[in-house]
């Protein structure tokens, strides 16, 4: 297990209109974070010794190159636990970064409000990827501060500060169904600011309501996003619309769209603020989805039980796009429908839309013999 996510707090200084998280004053004790990192270290040591004993004579350069380990800090708003994060980064640098053959890097998704130059300097020094949650032109309607104050002005200032330190900052955009008409203009706003990577996902859950009409308008916006994506990747341009790029990349590599997702603790492990393990951010605190704890280790039997419930939805078995679609992603399904084995109509339509638009954009860029795009996508 080479990816670990520590939920530093359930508390948040924002009150976004689609957010389903309970804003409780729960923070991960530093000692618990250290224990989780120590667990990870022990596993890596076992893995390393297994590898040594199975192939001591390997001259394969890949065997001797450093293994990348990722630790993410999640919330609520993780920067509310900034001191603890700084402590745990230093701790992980010593305990894992110091192991021969391993390098550790970090990731934080933040709403940006608490970013300052001092933290950015710390992030730069420690290879922390900062992803900024920002809903573009809908920010003031959707992502309000606690107490209902708008946040766009201050977050835009933070974005500029962030971009000065990290030109490759990634924007995480959530689409609220009531504000779908601003999606393309929002992407244009980010591009103008200097952003080069945007991820976007439709909001789901009981706090939002998608209708056919809203989705139709969203589709129109995504058509415009596709045009922008093609335009901004011409010549020396470079702009990633991550949902498109993932579809294109997976097709080119003939990979099942779900193959690299969480898969119940196989690819990453989520540690809640109380030390309990969950397979994914979506399942944190949900009854029946705890898969162990820092104190008791991973419950393999529980993972197998959950995995057995993650079956391909019946209706999808007749679909020829199923290998390119995230229809078996347990957390996405559960988030939309309450069942791991059922896909929502929203998810289904969104997958069809992104696959079609991604394919159209890729074909157009290849027809234009765009060397930068081809090199990016066809890197072995």
């Amino acid at each position: 297990m080479r990816r670990l996510t520590l939920v530093m707090t359930h508390q948040c200084n924002f009150d976004c209109k689609y957010c389903l998280q309970k804003h409780e004053d729960v923070f991960m004790p530093v000692e618990l974070g250290e224990k989780a990192i120590e667990r990870m270290r022990q596993e890596l040591l076992s893995e390393s010794s297994r590898k040594d004993s199975s192939d001591r004579s390997s001259d394969d350069p890949e065997e001797t190159s450093s293994t990348k380990v990722q630790i993410s800090f999640y919330g609520g708003e993780p920067l509310l636990a900034r001191d603890r994060i700084e402590h745990l980064v230093k701790y992980a640098n010593e305990r894992i970064g110091g192991m021969p053959g391993y390098s550790v890097r970090y990731e934080i998704t933040t709403n940006g409000l608490l970013l300052d130059e001092s933290f950015l300097s710390f992030a730069k020094k420690n290879r922390i990827l900062l992803a900024l949650s920002h809903d573009g032109l809908a920010q003031d309607q959707v992502r309000l501060a606690r107490g209902g104050k708008p946040t766009r002005e201050i977050v835009d200032q933070k974005l500029e500060m962030l971009l000065r330190a990290f030109p490759e900052t990634i924007i995480m955009m959530t689409i609220h169904p009531d504000y779908v008409d601003q999606v393309a203009d929002s992407i244009a706003f980010f591009h103008e600011k200097g952003i080069r990577s945007v991820s976007l996902v439709p909001a789901h859950g009981e706090r939002v309501s998608w209708t056919e009409e809203k989705f139709r308008r969203f589709s129109q916006q995504m058509e415009k996003v596709k045009v922008l994506y093609e335009r901004w990747n011409q010549g020396d341009g470079y702009f990633r619309v991550i949902p498109f790029e993932n579809k294109i990349r997976n097709y080119i590599r003939q990979k099942d769209a779900d193959s690299a997702m969480c898969h119940f603790g196989c690819h990453k492990l989520m540690v809640d603020a109380d030390g309990k393990y969950y397979p994914c951010s979506h399942f944190i605190g949900r009854d029946g989805f705890c898969i162990g704890s820092v104190e008791d280790d991973v419950d393999e039997a529980k993972i197998r039980t959950l995995e057995s419930r993650r079956v391909e939805p019946e209706i999808c078995r007749a679909c020829d796009l199923r290998f390119r679609c995230r229809h078996t992603c347990a957390c996405a399904n559960h988030g939309h429908t309450g069942s791991m084995a059922e896909v929502s109509a929203l998810q289904c339509e969104y997958e069809k839309l992104t696959i079609r638009l991604a394919d159209e954009a890729a074909a157009a860029m290849i027809r234009e013999e765009n060397p930068r795009f081809v090199e990016r996508m066809y890197k072995p």
Binding site: R2, R3, T67, K68, Q70, S72, Y74, S103, E107, K124, R127, L129, F166, I170, M172, S197, S199, V201, E212, I242, N246, R249, N250, Y251, I252, R253, Q254, K255, S259, A260, M261, H267, K268, S281, H282, I315, R317, A318, C319, D320, L321, C331, A332, V343, A345, C348, E349, I355, R356, D359, A363, I366, R367, E369, P371, V374, E375, Y378, K379, P380
Partner: protein
């Protein structure tokens, strides 16, 4: 909104990595040339009335063409394990693939993205970001 299975979707008109590798390794042509040539052959096959120009076919046609064979005779679809038959083009002199191959130059790789793996922050990464997003869906294995 409807949740309806898609039957016979439009097949991407760009090649897979294995097709490109096959062409560029066997014929020592630059990657960009291989990608655009296969894309062109897929489009050409489709324009000849074969709406089943699926993945694999473009690469196979191109391989035949480069081997000096008639590219629009029967082409076996290897990757998917079934057989497709392509019709003769009406005007073989308008073959866009040849133009693509002849006019191609070596691809400049962009070191900013690929050199050094994860050593600098600005390189393309395989970070997973919690909250439903994989920035690059390839899990890091090394």
């Amino acid at each position: 909104m409807k949740h309806e299975p898609v039957r016979k979707p439009v097949i991407p008109s760009y090649p897979t990595l294995s097709q490109v590798s096959k062409i560029s390794c066997m014929k020592s042509i630059p990657k960009l040339a291989a990608v655009t040539a296969i894309t062109a052959t897929i489009a050409l096959a489709a324009s000849c009335g074969d709406d089943k120009s699926s993945k694999g076919s473009g690469a196979n046609i191109l391989m035949d063409m480069m081997a000096g064979k008639d590219p629009f005779a029967t082409t076996e679809e290897i990757l998917e394990g079934y057989v497709e038959v392509y019709t003769e083009p009406t005007d073989p002199t308008t073959d866009p693939t040849e133009e693509v191959l002849m006019g191609e130059e070596t691809v400049d790789t962009e070191e900013v993205y690929w050199a050094g793996g994860m050593d600098t922050y600005t390189e393309e990464t395989d970070y997973m970001i919690d909250g439903d997003v994989a920035v690059n869906t390839e899990p890091s294995e090394t």
